[in-house]
């Protein structure tokens, strides 16, 4: 009977459900966010070529100069060029943002997969995660940094640790529902090993939610790093980071507000862009959200 005939061969052979990145230009706002983030990333990567001055070169005679042709955004209290410092400052911020997103996803994915699949390990791991989540993340980060000394790497670790439980829980919940799927049971009954089942049948389900979670982790890590620096608990003050620049500029806010304005503006733009992209990713990768819009 023709009811059961094969679909026409014109149907393209595609890999379904693989995250696609077309959503990055889906609306003008998302496109603007993507361009904005790409610009910030490009500027910071090319910082040595773009920055007009050395960001750490002290020039006490040039203290707190207003914007001029030589110093486009003026100078700070030590006579360093603000524009160069802001450009270089983005390097640390983006590095910490992307680094901590990648790190927390890698560790959280491993923990989530394992605890989603093994009942016994699950209760132990999840209690540890509960404990981590119970501590305020900034406090935890300050403790880690002050115990091990401030460097980019310790700050990165300090910011990543509080994010791990969130990622692990997300992965665990996906695994818990996916392992009940008949295709996982089918894999068990054709004798697939546990690592194979996890890697091939469970892990792919977590990719879409992880991309979304990754953008949020990235945004909040950038913010946390800035807060740590602002509080003086972060990377040492001579290294330019957006948080450091603002922390130093705080004392001169009344004389020269641009010391806070420019790094703050870039920080906000970067985080806003990342969050917008994250929302767009969620809408694109979660079919339920699409339905809600009635598309």
């Amino acid at each position: 009977m023709s009811i059961d005939s094969l679909p026409e061969s014109s149907i393209p052979i595609t890999r379904p459900l693989r995250p696609r990145f077309g959503f990055l230009t889906s609306t003008p706002i998302i496109a603007a966010a993507t361009i904005c983030l790409a610009l910030i990333a490009l500027i910071t990567i090319l910082a040595p070529l773009i920055a007009p001055h050395d960001p750490v070169l002290l020039a006490p005679s040039q203290r707190l100069k207003p914007a001029s042709a030589q110093f486009l955004l003026g100078t700070d209290a030590f006579g360093r060029d603000l524009l160069s410092r802001v450009i270089y400052g983005g390097r640390v911020s983006l590095l910490i943002g992307i680094g901590s997103a990648a790190l927390s996803i890698a560790i959280g994915l491993a923990i989530g997969l394992v605890s989603g699949f093994f009942r016994l390990l699950d209760s132990v791991m999840m209690r540890v995660m509960d404990g981590l989540m119970a501590m305020p993340s900034i406090l935890l980060a300050i403790a880690v940094v002050s115990l091990s000394g401030a460097s980019i790497w310790t700050v990165l670790v300090a910011i990543t640790i509080p994010e791990i439980p969130r990622v692990a829980r997300l992965v665990r919940s996906v695994v818990l529902s996916a392992r009940e799927e008949p295709y996982v049971e089918a894999a068990i009954s054709v004798g697939s090993s546990l690592p194979k089942i996890m890697w091939r049948h469970l892990m792919p389900n977590t990719i879409a939610p992880l991309i979304v979670q990754g953008t949020y982790v990235c945004a909040s890590a950038i913010l946390t790093e800035a807060i740590l620096s602002f509080l003086g608990a972060g990377i040492s003050p001579e290294t330019p980071t957006w948080g450091n620049i603002m922390a130093e500029g705080r004392q001169f806010f009344q004389i020269k507000p641009s010391l806070i304005f420019w790094p703050g503006l870039l920080l906000s733009l970067a985080i806003l862009s990342i969050n917008l992209i994250g929302d767009a990713a969620r809408d694109a990768l979660d079919p339920r959200m699409k339905q809600r819009e009635g598309k």
Binding site: M1, I3, D4, L6, P7, I11, I13, T14, R15, P16, L17, R18, E181, P182, Y183, E185, A186, A187, I188, S189, V190, G191, S192, S193, K196, R200, H201, P204, G294, K295
Partner: protein, 548 residues
């Protein structure tokens, strides 16, 4: 034409916003008169549900849109009615009951209050009068202890009780039209029979017109006055029940009817002396609820189940939901661990083996699941899915993929389907792929857990035929789990009837399904819808054969 409650005239429904989008419903005309039940029959994707949703004005905004024709309810045009007017009409003039009563009811509101909401929205009765009305209605749908059920949450009620609540809610304002969209598909046969009788009786008392949507010819034979057959958005045939079942004029209807498996068991195959490949001895599974303070509740899912299966034979396990038939299947395949008793596979006890020791035995017993849409990983190509098993047992990738191509041809699909993904196939084709995957390991036993229950009848017939053919060719033994006695009658050599985790009756299919000894088996057979009809031969079954 005044007594036409529902008059659908040349209705078209299209996808998307443009008028030239693909048509889901293409020019159908249906009339339902007062006190009449019109059964809308069709296979999945035929557009029968879309038709009912169009009438109710419940089409998903933005994706589906009526683009032509008219729908009149007691003379009033519905397609152009405002949302406000439609809201008034729903419940007061037309009401709908759905397939799955659990999802149609709000789980956090007691059922009595949910019916009350309908009355509050559409009548001026005070609280006392409303309550009286609701209790009356609940009695009418024959719910026991109405006071208690009034205050119960949906999860406290059985599937049948929930469906009764839905019917009470639908009929409390005495609408002119009741649309029932597969209302008994999720229910067991005995409950189904009760609900069908209930709808019949209520219709007689209230004079409601019923538009009954179903895919089950048996149900049609039970309830319909007139039948409309749909296929791919078009109306194939309409006529009185007798006319359509006896003298279908269209080829499609004839095919549809002849695909309905007969309740009369197929001729028994001769007894064999082949070796026993699968044995379950006193198999038991108890679910214990662990609580902090010692022992919690115990649920016995299977109790002392004993069965034997010989090479090349088919053993059916039949029973209603909750009878433990799937638990037994899963224990046998060791997807869950039995709590007592043993399973012998080709003479080797496997029920107490650890995961590791079980590994070499797994390939001898394979399972095909009910839902073809969930039993294949959507991200893995068909070939890889089929090859996964052999690769696990040391076959090289190239050989396994080559074998996958052969297997696809064996199950009636083109060999080049290996590189496609499951979403490119229909439900029946996916079930063929799942069967190919199970066969890839050359198992001795194939467990089919409701493997054809999710399929349309015509596809069901094809898959059953395929299983039969594979059995003849490979001499494989099949353990066939089903709730559908018709299917069991057509494929099984022996049948085990289960209820509440126990085996009630056991024996050759021809024996059990025609001369049942136990009362429970009798009641199951009695409740099988449409048992008075021999659909494939377009005539009623002789009364002598049916009641014997």
């Amino acid at each position: 034409m005044t007594n036409n409650v529902l008059d659908i005239n040349n209705l078209t429904v299209s996808i998307g916003k443009t008028p030239n989008g693909p048509k889901i419903i293409d020019g159908i005309s249906i009339q339902v008169r007062e006190r009449e039940t019109l059964c809308l029959v069709g296979e999945s994707g035929s557009g029968k549900s879309v038709t009912s949703l169009t009438v109710m004005g419940l089409l998903q905004k933005g994706s589906l849109r009526p683009t032509g024709g008219s729908v009149k309810l007691v003379g009033e045009e519905l397609l152009t009615a405002t949302d406000r007017r439609l809201r008034q009409l729903r419940a007061t003039q037309m009401a709908m009951i759905f397939q799955e009563p659990m999802t149609a009811l709000n789980p956090v509101v007691p059922v009595g209050r949910q019916i009350d909401e309908v009355l509050r929205a559409h009548t001026d009765l005070d609280a006392k009068a409303r309550r009286k009305r609701i209790l009356e209605m609940m009695e009418q749908v024959r719910l026991p202890q109405v006071e208690r059920i009034f205050a119960s949450y949906p999860h406290r009620l059985s599937g049948g009780q929930r469906q009764r609540i839905m019917i009470a809610m639908a009929l409390v304002l005495e609408p002119k039209l009741l649309i029932a969209d597969e209302p008994t598909t999720a229910l067991d046969v005995t409950t189904q029979k009760q609900i069908l009788t209930l709808i019949r009786d209520l219709q007689r008392d209230h004079g409601t017109a019923v538009l009954f949507i179903t895919h089950d010819m048996g149900v049609v034979a039970e309830i319909a006055d007139r039948v409309a057959v749909m296929r791919q958005g078009r109306l194939v045939e309409t006529g009185t029940l007798d006319n359509v079942l006896r003298n279908p004029t269209m080829e499609y209807t004839r095919n549809l009817l002849s695909s309905v498996p007969s309740l009369v068991p197929r001729p028994a195959r001769p007894e064999t002396k082949e070796p026993i490949v699968l044995e379950a001895n006193d198999l038991g599974k108890v679910y214990r609820e662990r609580t902090f303070f010692g022992q919690g509740r115990e649920v016995v899912a299977a109790d002392k189940v004993t069965l034997t299966l010989r090479k090349g034979r088919t053993l059916g396990i039949v029973g209603e939901s909750g009878s433990g038939k799937s638990t037994v299947a899963r224990c046998i395949v060791r997807l869950i661990d039995p709590t007592s008793g043993g399973v012998r596979l080709a003479g080797r006890e496997i029920s107490d083996l650890s995961r590791r020791l079980l590994q070499p035995h797994r390939q001898k017993i394979q399972i095909v699941f009910q839902d073809p849409y969930r039993s294949l990983n959507p991200r893995v190509s068909v070939g890889e899915s089929i090859a996964e098993g052999p690769i696990n047992y040391g076959v090289s990738r190239a050989d396994a993929l080559k074998r996958a191509r052969e297997l696809l041809e064996l199950v009636g699909l083109p060999a080049d389907a290996v590189s496609r993904y499951p979403h490119q196939f229909s439900g029946g084709q996916r079930q063929r792929i799942a069967i190919a995957r199970a066969l890839a390991l050359d198992p001795d036993v194939l467990v089919a857990d409701e493997a054809v229950s999710a399929l349309d009848v015509s596809v069901q017939a094809q898959v059953l035929e395929l299983l039969d053919e594979i059995q003849k060719r490979l001499g494989i033994a099949i353990l066939f789990i089903t709730h559908d006695l018709r299917v069991a009658a057509q494929i099984c050599d022996e049948v085990v009837v289960m209820q509440h985790g126990r085996v009630v009756e056991q024996g050759p299919a021809a024996e059990v399904l025609t001369h049942p000894k136990e009362a429970y088996t009798k009641s199951l057979l009695d409740a099988a819808p449409g048992r008075g009809w021999d659909f494939a031969n377009f005539r009623p079954v002789e009364s002598a054969a049916a009641t014997a």
